[in-house]
Chain length 221, copies 2
């Protein structure tokens, strides 16, 4: 109805915030952010890691710098970009959480993964710790490789979901498998368990995920 009479102060603020969100609204830029979450990188470096043209990577980086997600510094001939602040990582993590939850729900409706819900009951941390001590279980970390590298359960095998199918032949069929992920909403663990069961494994998922395991004071590598 009303055609936006005055550009209210609140609206201006929301416009600012929206600029930040827009800068996150592109898969390539999210990939770049993940790269820069580890350490600062030059444009060329980012471009090849993200499989983008240099000019395109430069555009993305400059946009994110413009809205305050990144900062840059010059080192000789190259420009190094990095995340501006831990709050940016918090923001990205919050986005991942919401996105993951959404993926999980879509799968639940479309594919019906959660039908046999009892079959997917999680293993408690305590139970897994006990079975690990007895050497009776294969532990599968289905998070992306870099998160695995930054810390994981002892004896865990890293098998990012899309590579899990290839790695199936290397898993002993006579041992139970417990898969874990980033946290309670992370859909990877559910999917991993479903896939493993399809291939005849005795598979279950760990309750919650790696951060909760670590926070509970259980051993980490």
């Amino acid at each position: 109805m009303a055609p936006m009479s005055s550009p209210s102060p609140k609206f201006e603020l929301f416009t600012q915030f929206a600029e930040v969100a827009k800068a996150l609204g592109n898969p390539h830029r999210l990939a770049i952010l993940e790269l820069l979450a580890q350490h600062e990188r030059g444009v060329d470096d980012v471009a090849s890691a993200a499989r983008l043209s240099v000019a395109n990577a430069s555009q993305h980086l400059r946009l994110m710098r413009k809205v305050g997600l990144l900062v840059s510094r010059r080192n000789g001939t190259q420009i190094l970009y990095r995340m501006s602040d831990p709050a940016v990582l918090d923001l990205v993590r919050a986005l991942h959480r919401v996105g993951e939850r959404n993926v999980a729900e879509v799968r639940e409706i479309v594919g019906g993964y959660f039908r046999q819900r009892d079959a997917l009951e999680p293993v408690s941390r305590e139970e897994l710790a006990r079975r690990m001590r007895d050497g009776l279980v294969t532990v599968l970390d289905v998070r992306p490789e870099d998160e695995f590298d930054a810390g994981h359960l002892p004896q865990a095998i890293n098998a990012p979901l899309r590579e899990l199918e290839k790695q199936l032949r290397d898993l002993p069929k006579d041992r139970a498998v417990v898969a874990y992920c980033r946290g309670p909403y992370c859909v990877f663990a559910f999917e991993a368990v479903a896939l493993l069961r399809q291939h005849g494994f005795n598979a279950r998922r760990l309750e919650d995920g790696f951060p909760e395991w670590k926070a509970a004071g259980l051993p980490v590598v």
Copy 2:
């Protein structure tokens, strides 16, 4: 260089996440989210509160539902929308934090507000509490009105930044003024102090913001 050979699994995930961020990348939708953070509302209700046409509001709402930020239910003839999950509010808050910090930095560079940094040293919570008991200070809440209504410091006057200038004449000039905001990065308090000083007030800002005051167990209305 390489034109994106295969649509990698990681890229698909990031595409999902980017859809969520895109849905946040519009000032009207952020305004709608703030409305729905309070309680669920019908389309018509949202449209008039956000000053949008009904069809336009419907489009925004459906988009946010599609990416999982909102859910809806039917109640007779109307459709009620609400936030799907507390994680969505966390995401919005994280976005606000980054956006606020960004606004603050821009102002710092352009306007030089933070030049006389010592003059803007914050008042500690304890000091403010003491001075409030002695009745020696005017307390200014420069957050938006709805946040003020949801809880504020005792005796505080709500003066959203853009309305502060109008309210200046009503403030007693012989009393010190302490302004506070959402938190440590919130730029409103800085700007309020700068404006008050321009007009001859003895003004300072409170350390951190309202949530921290409340968390410290100090009195709240």
